[in-house]
Symmetry: C2
Subunit: 188 residues, 2 copies
Amino acid sequence: MSTKDRLIESTRALLWERGYVGTSPKAIQHAAGAGQGSMYHHFSGKEELARAAIDRTAEEMRAGIDAQLSGPGTALERITAYLHREREVLRGCPIGGLTQDPEVMATPALREPVDQTLSWLRARLAQVVAEGIAAGELSPALDPAATASSVVATLQGGYVLARAADSPQPFDQAVEGVLALLRSSAPR
Amino acid sequence: MSTKDRLIESTRALLWERGYVGTSPKAIQHAAGAGQGSMYHHFSGKEELARAAIDRTAEEMRAGIDAQLSGPGTALERITAYLHREREVLRGCPIGGLTQDPEVMATPALREPVDQTLSWLRARLAQVVAEGIAAGELSPALDPAATASSVVATLQGGYVLARAADSPQPFDQAVEGVLALLRSSAPR
DNA sequence: GTCTATATTCGGATAGAC
DNA sequence: GTCTATCCGAATATAGAC
């Protein structure tokens, strides 16, 4: 892995763990085993490096989720699989967590990929919900966009509850709770 | 309002807006119109002040929600009212947002009130769900604790989606989505 | 109780040698 | 490309006068 790649990977890890305001150039350099000069040779500064790191995380996440939601199975099965996707619950969502960082929200270049990723996710999930309705698996009374937002919010909020409790339990409960509601709304 | 009170109130606002790592003693002093000496006279440092601020926010939130959930109306009506409670959506939850702050999570004295508040909220809401099941308003197939976690997670996650999109829309969608699911799960 | 002065370390970067 | 030196202001206090 090149020095540039190591800088990006270290930044990804630190942004996930400490956020943008909580991450210093010095910490990034140390984690990457690179000197100051090296970092400022490859990137104009902390912001450009963070953008590269966020982009990489966003692309990875998007590709993984899309593969899962586009895979085989009924709509409800794919939503269930997505909700049960393996996650490092106590670390939170590496993209969603950035919405709490004041500098990220105030910097268009950093905010953009976060916005795009979560908007894409809601839209993609709404498609799957619509497929489920069309197939008669889900109630035609459901609004695909609203239901999709609820599912994504359950995950994002599940992370918050799990981190507060220092336990994955509330996350798992929230997921099972929303799945039970989805299943119980099926046409009978 | 005393200087001490102004320090606490300013800290509350800054913690909400910028988090703990993003808030400096200097910024607090400036917002409170107090000098350094003043702050260090009333509090041992940033941590003790933050604890006082978080405690105050947590108590306020808890009292307000409890009043609403203990009020008149059926269980489903009270849950609906709680979900429709007026909120500054784009600012996020002043308690839930702290779970994303690495220093808060690493400091037991700061983490404790956050944990307590969200745990209390899940338990309180689970009671209301149980009342709804007992009254025949909600499906007896629902698990009160899981359903309560889903409802709280929908709110916390709704804030995340709204902040990412810089619009309250995804929050409102998530709330309406979960309410539709709750209603559609009612025994028929 | 509040103020000003001082101290130490970190944050975020630039300059220029190798 | 990478390194070391250097810069300036901010973060987080402590000390002691008023």
